[in-house]
Subunit: 412 residues, 2 copies
């Protein structure tokens, strides 16, 4: 149990998870690999749900229905069914029917209403969900529900992810233990189409819908909306945050916000680090911006640049590409004020080239590309625009031949 | 001499170029390879210049000065000096001095004013131009000036381009021969930084500045601003269009516009086809859009998508990625109205999957990836949104391991 600045501590989700929440994960045979592919989150009565969904025009209908059900129940949902294998996107009316069949059946098994059940899907686009296999296995799924079972649920939502993405933290407020847990899947590809980013967060400090919505929006902006593997937004991207339990006083909200931020950023960074073909996590911190939106926008522009990503892959301290990507972000700044660092090496001071040892910077980047697959494999870039008081961070990864290989594989 | 729809014919620029324009191209030793690296365009008196420049915040100061000189002379410039080897970007006051020294010297040699000379640079960012070598060779450059010498000029502006990019066309209006010539360089990389896109067009039909500006803006929007190799905008991107000679009647402007469009699109497509590591030209036509801007924006979003580009590379008719990229373009449309074609195969009809043979579509893409390096190696995608009357086209290329290799090469 390691200590965090904010008194939040990491905890083992096999022992500690938010009070009252139950999790399940099994194999229903939806994946050719027969790995786990069906997960369930069952939240206590009175739980408050907030969902944030893909901004793409082309959305899976399951995303539309989730959004609608959260709205019609005023956020008082109870369960989320999640399947991997098929994304249930571009599947027309059949996709809507499958959603209704599956959530209706889960509602029956859990003794709740159908509109209190959400369903998220990830996997192949344009292929109908294997609804018979799914429905047949729902009783097994419900039997698997346990508090200390995030491991199974987190496994069941993965597609081509190489690593499990989950985190649990705990703090004590006025003698009361507060727990937040999250799990996610990243952007991997399955033939023939794009998979999705899904993430779920549970918290056992009760917070009213209106306030919770705001807190989740802040956390998502600084985490899931600040990462990029390849600049692609999927049809199914979804994040759902749930709180339940005794209401907590408003003066403690900043502590909860801190906890939500920690969990969301941990999961988001894991997704970026596990980007297809990635060898490191790229972290770009922009300081001295006129506002947070500008800072994140500029940081994302650098993380998204194919030329920055290939330079990092080649351990090349190519500051020209970084500055050029900054120049294309749409954020206004004066190059003559800009300081630029890669790791601890200052490359630019007030827009002018500083004396630095390129070999040392190359060695720094190389030391972060160690293939041990740790979230600490971080290449850090810092830019100070000196045009304001705000800062923001974005995360990405290097661009390797492996990325091209994974995404151009096709056998008819 | 092949015939075009519009009565414009391709001509050999070793024989025919716009009347009164002189071109030169020599080696001044600015490139390590000692290949040609210095070009000059000398336009007749009374020529009308229009420039369009990079939209990046981080611009080379030579771009700023070019823009300023076109403004202060009301477009009555006479010459453009172009060097490859060093981009003269991020070089501060020294860069400005070098610009002034070089253009001052050329003005002296040509007997014109310094402010009548522009200078464009391409090559390494952040490294001072090799000004002594450059100045020393200016008399040689001026000696090389000839009408039928676009070949030399076009060679001298290349960096890592694999192909020469030049085109000349001719038509007859009321018994008068009108010629338009253009040449360009594409987006290649030089250690340690981004090179640039440069393109130049000359025309011997006289058209007043105000009208010429409009015609050039229309042509650039539909050509150089509709291509993408990797979504990166450079510090030095410049396009300069020049006309000279006897004024032409306004009723013939549509013919001239057509000619400018042909030349600009030919060069732009050549740049995309010669994208780093590219094996084909990707052409995306969007029809049925609410306006031209929407059509081009959506087409560019597809051309820019790393997932579409890798799918094309893998000869994979991955319509889900195409539709997903369309959904992320920021253009609103209704998926239920969308028709999608890859080559002649209709994949979607009103948003629903059509019966098609994936193997045939794969074979179609494969047949375009033949490595013979022809502009006819085109993979065509067509989307009809059926939400308006407008259409637009964008061009890109496939994304290969070679792209990653070229851009992650770094030896300290």
């Amino acid at each position: 149990m390691s200590q965090l600045d904010s008194n939040w501590s990491f905890v083992d989700d096999n022992k500690v998870t938010p009070k009252g929440f139950l999790f399940a994960g099994i194999s229903a045979g939806l994946k050719a690999s027969k790995k786990k592919d069906l997960a369930l989150i069952f939240a206590p009565e009175g739980s408050v749900f907030t969902g944030m969904f893909t901004q793409s025009i082309v959305r899976a209908s399951c995303v539309d229905i989730c959004e609608e059900r959260i709205k019609t129940t005023s956020g008082f949902v109870r369960a989320i069914l999640i399947n991997s294998g098929q994304a249930n996107a571009c599947t027309g009316n059949l996709g809507i029917q499958h959603f209704q069949i599956a959530t209706g059946k889960i509602a029956e098994l859990l003794g709740i209403k159908e509109e209190e059940v959400l369903m998220c899907s990830t996997g192949v686009i344009g292929v109908p969900i294997q609804i018979n296999d799914l429905v047949k296995n729902l009783p097994n799924l419900v039997s698997d529900l346990k508090g200390n079972n995030i491991q199974n649920a987190a496994e069941a939502i993965l597609t081509t992810d190489l690593t499990l993405k989950k985190v649990s933290i705990e703090t004590i407020i006025q003698g009361r233990k507060i727990k937040i847990s999250g799990f996610a899947k990243g952007s991997g590809m399955i033939y023939p189409n794009m998979a999705t980013m899904l993430a779920f967060l549970t918290c056992d400090a009760g917070i009213k819908k209106e306030e919770w919505d705001k807190m989740i929006a802040i956390a998502v902006k600084k985490s899931f909306n600040a990462i990029s593997v390849d600049g692609e937004t999927s049809t199914n991207d979804s994040f759902i945050g749930i709180n339940a339990g005794e209401k907590i006083e408003k003066r403690f909200f900043p502590i909860i916000q801190q906890g939500i931020d920690i969990v969301c950023q941990n999961l988001a960074k894991n997704i970026a680090r596990d980007g297809e073909g990635a060898n490191c996590l790229l972290e770009v911190l922009v300081q001295g911006a006129k506002n947070i939106d500008d800072a994140i926008k500029l940081a994302k522009s650098i993380c998204n640049s194919a030329l920055v990503k290939t330079a990092i892959h080649g351990c090349d301290p190519n500051w020209g590409r970084i500055i050029s990507a900054a120049g294309n972000s749409g954020v206004k700044f004066n190059l003559n004020h800009v300081d630029l660092y890669i790791g601890n090496a200052q490359i630019l001071e007030n827009g002018k080239l500083n004396k630095y040892d390129p070999q040392k910077v190359t060695d720094y980047i190389k030391s972060r590309m160690n293939g041990r697959y740790l979230v600490d494999d971080i290449v850090k870039i810092m830019i100070n625009l000196k045009s304001g008081e705000y800062k923001g961070t974005a995360w990405g990864c290097d661009l390797s031949k492996k990325y091209v290989e994974i995404n151009s594989e096709y056998t008819t």
